[in-house]
Symmetry: C2
Subunit: 228 residues, 2 copies
């Protein structure tokens, strides 16, 4: 939708991968719609996923007992987070839709979440879940899997893929206030035909065309786990 | 139990934290039992959580299209993984019990899992889950939470904590063949009395004394999600 601002947090090493194509096509489609699109390409940026003392500029709140959560929170309040984190927070703040690309949530993306979505910026108890500080923003997870769809079905050996998404969709995104749209999942792209891979790309672009009308999923345990 | 080999993968920045005390007391208790204990102290080691081309020594299998999973697998088979990863795999191989310490699975620990538990070493489809390559080993997650126990109950805003553990206990550990023991959880240590914190430490040490007799939990969806 024209005027919308979208942040893509992209974590894949290979531009020629299916995830890379998804990213490129997303940027194209959203720009065509008149959206402003920003990409945080974590591997290209060599984003530092370790949460350490280096993320805080200047003196610590309690140098005798380093508590990352507390220090990052205080540093956020005092404008003392390191530049790279401030920059990412600015991008999040400006974005309306916030799709994530990962292959099984690699550490580099987990590091982005650990360090960008800190207390004071994204949540501040009891401001969490429906009253999280990033409410009124949409988030969407997009990823590929190693196994096929059968493996991630209710009776498959990995169980319903919905279970795997719970900690991220509810524990991280919903916790920060995001409304979460249905995930975009490409099952086992390594084992399908080129034609099927192309379909994966085109169906995603098709979905993007009406994505602004979608209703968020219901991030509560009853919806997630209730109907098995 | 005398003769057992235990690997502790420890991910916390502050030695004076409750997680730090848990780690120290675990080492003491297990040594008292006659176990051999190894600690991978990820922050101290400055473990690199980003999964990149640098993890593979020498030529790539397919330099035109970098697929980390495939490259790490081939490198494992050919002995071409980087030294730090080979060393961690050696520790895993030797261990019988494998407790993990984290605070909400920080990126540095996720990086350890991404890069140490690679195909060929930990799994090799269809050798996964009950036939995973690390079967006959025990694993145990130990961690502290920010919220209190109520928050992580069935009707609490975060849902049953069991749901959050599913991807790690089933999707990672069970996938590699580990038998998973009940997690050791210290709820909200920041908000309890010093006395209660001491109890958290002593009850863990008490548990350690009979830990070798414990039966693993049942990592299947029916057990995990069936009884709500």
């Amino acid at each position: 939708m024209a005027g919308k601002k979208v942040l893509i947090v992209y974590a894949h090493q290979e531009p020629k991968s299916l995830n890379g194509s998804l990213k490129t096509m997303t940027v194209e489609e959203l720009k065509k719609q008149g959206c402003t699109v920003t990409v945080s390409n974590l591997y290209e940026m060599q984003f530092e996923p370790r949460a350490t003392r280096k993320d805080i500029v200047g003196d610590l709140h309690n140098p005798d007992h380093f508590n990352y959560g507390v220090e990052a929170w205080k540093a956020y309040e005092n404008g003392c987070l390191s530049e790279d984190l401030i920059e990412e927070q600015r991008k999040v703040k400006e974005a309306d839709l916030f799709p994530l690309y990962w292959f099984s949530m690699p550490a580099i993306l987990k590091g982005w979440m650990d360090k960008v979505l800190v207390q004071g910026f994204a949540h501040d108890f009891p401001k969490c879940y429906d009253s999280g500080l990033l409410k009124n923003k949409l988030a969407l997870l997009s990823f590929t899997t190693g196994g096929d769809e059968e493996m991630y079905s209710e009776r498959g050996p990995s169980g319903n893929i919905r279970y795997l998404l719970w900690p991220m969709q509810h524990g991280i995104l919903h916790f920060c206030g995001f409304s979460v749209l249905s995930p975009q999942i490409c099952f086992g792209p390594e084992y399908v035909t080129e034609e099927k891979r192309r379909q994966m790309l085109t169906s995603w672009v098709k979905r993007l065309q009406t994505i602004w009308e979608e209703k968020p999923i219901n991030c509560v345990p009853e919806w997630y786990f209730g109907n098995i």
